[in-house]
Symmetry: C2
Subunit: 292 residues, 2 copies
């Protein structure tokens, strides 16, 4: 297992972590500058942030700063109530794929979608099995294009509390079953993003990380589970402030040969997004060394 205590060379910042500074939106170029100033070598930006700044500018800045992308957030949302919705999702995913390629991301992260309509407050139906079929088929279609483009797809199983509205793939086992079905040769084109927040509770986590192996662990995300979580979406903790044994899980991932970045992804409306971006990035660096 790598020693993270001496430096932060393997730290990546998911840019949602500093999406807001003192409660105000921060443009992505400012985030990139702040990361580069601190010797942070990798980021994982969100599409809406890239679009707001312009893909061309972001691409130039990523290159001039020498930044790597540990992933690109995000493709997915494969479920829909009708054919038009499925087609729109496919088209949007192809754009995400092109952007990921332009930014030379290590992978395109897939948040696969839940019951259609649920995210905007009204589910079109209650058939989670049907949603899961659409997800499988949608990943299958995207995989053909991603393979041709040389961009790996990382299915991110989300915590079961997001099964209704964000992702109906909720365990590593389920994600790996999809990988087996869609990429049985284990070519490296399809794998998983292991996020400790989503998976730490899973009694089969170690077993499934071993099943995934080096080929299928494409990304490793960290934050922490707070004992008194006040909000289902935006109350994630800084590493060390919660109850997840992050080094243990990193050990399992690295035992498979994973040598990539440890990506910090914290959504925190009432705490970290209210602080100054510089303070947050400094905390990420410190906790990467002490608690990851």
């Amino acid at each position: 297992m790598r020693d993270f205590s001496q430096d932060h060379r393997w730290l990546s910042i998911n840019t949602a972590t500093v999406r807001r500074s003192r409660g105000q939106e921060v443009p992505l170029p400012q985030i990139l500058d702040a990361c580069a100033q601190r010797g942070i070598r990798a980021i994982s930006p969100w599409r809406d942030q890239v679009q707001a700044a312009g893909l061309a500018q972001v691409s130039r800045m990523v290159r001039s700063h020498g930044l790597s992308l540990s992933g690109y957030c995000r493709g997915g949302m494969f479920t829909a109530a009708d054919e038009a919705g499925l087609k729109a999702a496919d088209e949007d995913n192809l754009r995400a794929l092109e952007e990921a390629c332009e930014l030379r991301a290590a992978c395109l992260v897939l948040v696969v979608g839940g019951l259609p309509g649920a995210l905007s407050g009204r589910a079109a139906h209650k058939d989670i099995g049907l949603a899961r079929e659409q997800i499988r088929d949608g990943i299958g279609r995207l995989l053909e294009r991603a393979r041709a483009a040389g961009m790996p797809l990382a299915i991110e199983p989300l915590h079961p509390m997001y099964a209704a509205d964000r992702a109906s793939v909720n365990t590593m086992e389920q994600a790996l079953d999809l990988c087996d079905a869609l990429d049985p040769q284990c070519t490296g084109a399809l794998g998983v993003a292991v996020d400790v927040y989503h998976t730490w509770w899973d009694p089969k986590l170690q077993q499934q990380i071993e099943r995934a192996g080096r080929e299928r662990v494409l990304a490793f995300h960290v934050c922490d589970w707070l004992i008194r979580t006040r909000d289902l979406l935006n109350d994630r903790g800084m590493m060390g402030d919660g109850v997840i044994d992050i080094p243990r899980i990193r050990g399992w991932v690295e035992a498979q040969g994973f040598e990539g970045y440890s990506e910090v992804e914290i959504f925190s409306a009432e705490d970290w997004w209210q602080r100054d971006m510089g303070e947050v990035l400094d905390a990420c660096i410190a906790r990467h060394r002490s608690a990851v």
Copy 2:
């Protein structure tokens, strides 16, 4: 599959559902009267409610009203930071067992506990594997006494969002692995409580219900998952108001031969607990017929 649309003979009310009426605590005897007045044949009371009213009085009322207990809430909380804590948990569980026997409950429901101390805000450690060992051993010790008393124990896997503080048994598969380990002969002394709120998201739910079979499904709990869940603990929905396909899951359970009560268990601080108890019970009856 039984037809619930014509009457509510298979409805049970978990008394936490009407723990408060218009925001005020309701003594258990009032709840029992209100249930009996509506022809509700079964309840599942909580220990704190029973203790407040006195076990002897509750026992008399249950018998005079001809009420059955679909379960007794709850034993468990097997984890502790030291030997004294483990011993105290064992003793408390023996008292719960005696109460369940006195009330002739169909089973004693087990909410098994999480990281020690987490429920009161400060976890003693982050080793969920150790917590799970304590849970297994604690159930094993209680099982000997429960078997002698003729009281079945129902392990209730809780939603993974409660893994830290309430129960580190979080899937049906995990609960059934415990049953296999502790009661390999499948004697009926140990099984599971299937709560749709905790399990609906699980891609292996149908498979694991089939694995459980008639012998190990000891209880069936219903409520609903609201799309916009505002609180991790106390924002459960009335059946039909959320996205769980409850009849489908009941069909799976009944296909195994389950013929028990469908127990309504809703914690709802901002909605149902603010309404009048009578209105809530009437809604439970109506939704039992239309949405379960």
